[in-house]
Amino acid sequence: MNRGTSRGLEDTAKEVALASSGDETWVIVPAFNEGTRILRVLDELTAVVANVVVVDDGSEDDTGFHVLTRPVWLVTHPANLGQGAAIQTGIDFALARGAAYVVTFDADGQHRPQDIPVLVSSLQRNEADFALGSRFLGSATGMPISRHILLKLAVLVTRVLSGVKLTDAHNGLRAMTRGGAASLQIRHNRMEHASEIIDQIRHCGRKYIEVPVQIRYTADTLAKGQRMSDAIGLGLRMLLRRVVR
């Protein structure tokens, strides 16, 4: 980590402390086979927030071993369930530990910890229950055009199926209040959870806002991202979910 980044993270840590009395914010990091990059993410995160829980979703590599070398919590699914299930496990854990704010954060390094206090303070300022990160209100460095089209399609599908107008429907960086987190019950284990969360926010009548965030696309983050074939499967499952609950 260079000095400039370190200074940035220190400033951010102070902002977090101001925004949420420090220990009240819990960051959930769902991880599956992230052994090669989880440490970099955790080092950045622990410089900003005190409470981090990594949900190892049945990884076949040494993700869990690496996580335990850092001062963070590790919750391990004995079998791979999917990101939605891992987030719900993390929410249950954070609420049991008394979290006032819960933040979801991807393990691949595409999110910036500096955005966390911005999300949390947005919740307080707007008296909202959910602050959803939006790369299209903020910025996305290195985003391929195919990913741009895919995400815009997801926005369109969400608008049609859920009736919710968002600029970014599948951003893994989001913050929620304790009440908001407690109202969620993610029942779809895999990637459908993003639209399921939006559905539940609307169904419960919770207030949500979109907050500009920055997403960093690198060869690493793109290697495990969603492909067009995944997106088609996701769309079909979203449709099926509306028929069979």
Partner: protein, 128 residues
């Protein structure tokens, strides 16, 4: 009577008889047993008298008996897919709950204060 009819008609009647006996013994619910018995008896009848299927199809406004079978098969297939998807989902929710419970109980901290904190949080864990 063709060889196809000679083999399948008694086979379907036999299955219908087995289903009826199982229903009477209580192995199948009455509603389920009745549906299956009627299905197998109808199948036996339409195999033995294929022209009657065409008559039924025309009565329903469908030209050919084969089309009636095709439509019915597609609808039945969709129904079966939805039924088993529903069962799969219920099982998935159940298994997820069990795995989550086990994972939360075995939570560990990278720091040294892990074990004492673990005991403290046990009572706060959500019940599935």
């Amino acid at each position: 009577m063709t060889l196809f009819q000679a083999v399948l008609t008694p086979s379907c009647l036999l299955v219908a008889a087995v289903v009826s006996v199982r229903t009477m013994r209580g192995s199948l619910s009455r509603w389920s047993g009745l549906c299956w018995t009627v299905t197998w008896l109808s199948t036996a009848f339409f195999i033995a008298a294929p022209m009657s299927l065409t008559t039924v199809a025309r009565w329903l406004g469908i030209g050919r008996g084969a089309d009636l079978v095709l439509y019915f098969a597609v609808l039945a297939g969709l129904g079966i897919v939805l039924y088993y998807y529903g069962r799969f989902r219920r099982l998935e929710v159940l298994v997820t709950g069990l795995i989550r419970r086990e994972a939360l109980e075995a939570a560990r901290h990278g720091g040294s204060s892990a074990s004492s904190e673990l005991h403290a949080m046990d009572s706060n864990l959500p019940r599935q």
